[in-house]
Amino acid sequence: MDTIWWGFVKALDLVIHLDPNLTSIIWLSLRVSGTAVLAAALIGGILGVLVATKRFPWSRVCVIVLNTCMGFPPVVLGLFIYLLISRSGPLGFMGLLFTPMAMIVAQALLATPIVAALTVAAIRSVPEAIKDTAISLGATMAQADWMVVREARFGLMAAIIAGFGRVIAEVGAVMMVGGNISGYTRVMTTVIALDTARGEFELAIAAGIILVTISFVVNLGLNLAQGGMRK
């Protein structure tokens, strides 16, 4: 009981005094997940828009594949990337293993299908009449598609926020390809997992508090975006 109590007190102390060790971990988490989601928003967003607006023979299969990838186990993805970039792997020469870049790649790959699948769903939920109305007002096909995407804008925002929420809380893949190196690749989730395993709780609890707070803010954002969608 005492350890837990003291863990909390010390953790709050770290949070309140902005302990440099803690802030550097938070900063790296935000940087890695932010960059990853930016890439995922670009790739997943474009992919989602294309799949949702263009009719091509395999578009249904694409949607099913995207939805499957949404729930892809992060540890398995971590394993794949590890095998690719480890010294003896085909991309080993790039020296990516245990770097923030490897973590960004892993998280981007995790977030891309999420963003893409939610983008498809958001665009598909726009009424057919939006496109017809645009066309009857003289839109080209591209302009009409753009109006549909524009109508889905709050849904696209929600897709990106959901992708961020997923990767910032993810631990398996970043641990495997990042290695939890102090001051270099240590992020909130890995410090929580590994410090706890070693019986050192204060930094873990502090990171946990921050992570839950971020998660709250993310969900608040999601909620606002969905509110805009219903309008």
Binding site: P127, A129, I130, D132, T133, A134, I135, S136, L137, G138, A139, T140, Q143, M147, R150, E151, K231
Partner: protein, 248 residues
């Protein structure tokens, strides 16, 4: 100067199937330039389907739509030029989720109209429907009557030759119905816009139309000058519809 009545838009022998069902069978229709032509008939008669075909939103299975002296279809290379001479309004206007101004300006933006000109034309359109000052309002928050007026402003801002209206007053109260009717009449008289309007309101057809076409079961039963079709119908089906509002 004597004006010669000239058809601006014609459909000839049109057949259309939807989901394996014949929705339009051998339908012919013509809109005289500068006139208002009402299409009446019971639900499911194919009125909306015909309007979408002549608005070049859908492809037909057989027959032709003729505009500017030649057959046109959604697959023509210059379909955009043709479509841009028409505009459409519907029973429940689909507003884009943005301001009323953005909605009214969108057709001009599609045409890459210079900004100053957009501003002028949009203001003129708002003025026409007596909604000055409504530009900044959220389009989705407008009342039914206001939304339909914004939809009309949006349609006429691009200065179309032809307005296609699909039961534009079906969801409106009598007062707003009169407002829309007056706007359509003024549009036709003052700006020489030719109008095709689908309506379930026989009084409205009588008040506005120069010509009336009566459709039932995917076919044109009767077509001609409004006065003749409404007051001296030739066909038994038309008579029952006009008297009892239904077709057996």
């Amino acid at each position: 100067m004597i004006e010669v009545a000239e058809d601006i838009l014609t459909a000839v022998g049109v057949h259309l199937n939807k989901g394996g069902v014949a929705v339009l069978e051998d339908v012919s229709f013509s809109l005289v330039s500068g006139h208002i032509h009402a299409i009446i008939g019971p639900n499911g008669a194919g009125k909306t389907s015909l309007l979408r075909l002549i608005g070049l939103l859908d492809r037909l299975d057989q027959g032709q739509v003729i505009f500017g002296g030649r057959a046109v279809s959604p697959d023509c290379p210059d379909i955009l030029t043709v479509r841009r001479q028409m505009a459409m309004i519907h029973q429940s206007p689909m507003m884009f989720n943005s301001s009323a101004y953005h909605n009214v300006s969108i057709g001009l933006k599609f045409r890459r109209t210079p900004r100053a000109e957009i501003d002028r034309k949009v203001n003129r359109a708002f003025d026409f429907v007596s909604l000055n000052g409504f530009g900044p309002r959220a389009a989705r928050s407008l009342s039914g009557g206001e939304a339909q007026r914004v939809a009309l402003a949006r349609a006429i801002a691009v200065e179309p030759l032809i307005l296609l209206a699909d039961e534009p007053t079906a969801n409106l109260d009598p007062r707003n119905t009169l407002v829309i009717e007056n706007l359509i009449r003024r549009l036709n008289r003052e700006r020489r816009v030719s109008v095709v309007m689908v309506t379930h309101d026989l009084g409205q057809a009588g008040r506005l139309a120069d010509e009336v076409t009566f459709m039932a079961h995917g076919r044109v039963v009767e077509t001609g000058p409004a006065d003749q079709v409404m007051n001296f119908p030739r066909h038994e089906l038309t008579r029952t519809f006009l008297n009892r509002g239904l077709v057996l």
